[in-house]
Amino acid sequence: MRFNTLSIKKSNDLIFGYSPKPVTTRRGLIIGGGIVYPELNFTLPTMSINDSTLTNITNQYKEIVNGALERALQLEAPGLIFEFETLLEMTQNPQIAIGLVKVMNDVCEEYYVKHGLKSEIRLTPNDLREFERPPKQRTSELLDLMIEVFEGGLNAGGDLLSIESTGGKEVSDDALMNCNIKQLIFALSVLGVRDMKMLWRKMVDICLKKGKIPAGDTACGFGNTAMVLAEKKYIPKVFAAVVRIVTVVRTLVCIEEGAVGPDKDCGYEGVYLKAITGIPISMEGKTSACAHLSPVGNIAGACADLWSNESVQNIKLLSGMAPTAYYEQLEYDTRLMNEAIKEGSASILNLQRLMVNSDIYHDPQALVLAPDVVIQVAGEIVKGKNYIDASIRGALKGLDIIEEAVNSDKLKLEDREVIWIDSLRSEIETIPTDESKFVEETIAEIGTTKFIPAEYGL
């Protein structure tokens, strides 16, 4: 592990709008430099993607960007990011993805030239490799298509490159449903970490060659899957909170490999990455209720540098198209934060305290996002002698903090939740920190039909 101290050491320095290592985009947005910008996410309404619908699709993406930028102009906004997360067919046919980036970037450029309005496209191709089961993380031809989209999309005007990579998901899916924390940690801190190293080395290289920004990854398929399942009461919240902590270690790897932020939304590990590495981050909270409900509506914003809605279909609301409406909501959310920033650090901490107190004791998943908890848990993580050890330390520390909150009666949990604290702890304590031993043990347990060790260099 490259990082063994925290970049931000005091929770008072872990705030929204500022990060120790701000990132400047091509059109001059300084992310983490004292302004929180909206990051608008959007997707298609119910429809097929094929040749006959391509014109329609292109128009829709164009209109989405147009609609948001027009509104941004009216609201006198300082700037915004568009995240373009490709859908399956767009990555399978790179020309589609690349064409859409171009169309959207042209609109961004037009508003920039005409009105000085700064916006950028974050390009997030989806990880195709999970389509093969067991997936061939390294040898799959699907990887070539992804790289074609990375390169072509950046050439076409994307400025930030991201992905929600899925190494280890073939193991984590079952682990989540069974609440098997050992297998989950294996999925993330062995398989996930190894895949991230391989993939992000490539992505960072491409960005460096093109002068673009290798932004960051997110363990959405792990952490947010757990959260959505917990919201539905399918798995314990305590478990989901621990999963969130374990995702940190995995996602950290992209920064070790050269990603510089802003880290992606769709997960909440960003706040840990910010504490550990100092990069700026994108977070999502209440205004992503269009995409999923969550127990972290306000607290998720406590340290955000970008503020996202995760995803909304391009459908009509009474006011107009949903992406425009959601852009407006994000803009007002960030205006509030930016007013506090204008007033200085006391005001930032005042607003942050409200955001934190709003959610902290309603759910253990909120608790582990509180800045002082993040500093404590992140402090444990960086002590890890390897990724597994780091995960174990973080998870145990998180459980201690949750337990303390329960014992002091601040956090009220049902009994059927509370019993998971102990049982997770004792499970975690049996995990060997030695990687090859852990691999051996796990293969003995789940075999190698689900995942192919060689595809992870094992």
């Binding site: 309404p45 119910t46 859908l87 399956l88 098997n180 059927r416």
Partner: protein
Amino acid sequence: MSDLLEKLMNCVELGKINKVSSFPPSLKGQDGADELCKMALEEGIKPQVILNEALIPGMSKIGEKFSQGRAFVPEMLISAKAMTAAMKHLKPFFTSGEIKRKGTFVIGTVFGDLHDIGKNIVAMTIEGSGWEVIDLGVDVKPEKFVETIEKYPDCVVGLSALLTTTMANMEVIVKEIKNKYPDKLILVGGAPLSQEFCNKIGASFYSPDPQGAVEFLKKVAA
């Protein structure tokens, strides 16, 4: 109900697989579904009675708790494992035809779509309610469904989709199935769906949750 069957039902509900299994702590050291089912057969209780009065009710109890938000998925999974341990002993009677399942349910996530968590829960719940479940996995093409129906002509089909873009693929699959099997019952589900969409694509039934599907299948089997 015989004491034995009641115990067996409890083991399924609570997820007590066999004597050595450590879960649930409260039943540590006691017989599990495995042992109790064997005993029941030895006592001469009819396999069909064991199935209908112990195993299915046990699963349906945990299923109910689950659908009321009072049990977690891992608890349901462990109940399913307990049921499987018991079913092992009933297998010969299925083969011989002495007992029957309520029907066959073929389920899969439609092509282009990899989301399977919801589909798996549905599969498990329906299995627990006494149906044989053939799970075709994710990213399933129309042909695969049609082939499977050829093998199980009386089956009911279930389709799952989680993406607004793959919902449209459901329509393709429904069409291809109905082409060959105009009367085939097709259930659809998944977060972005709605009753309206179900009607539009000509599927037979939509349910937002597994419980709804189980209720529907009850009527079908009756």
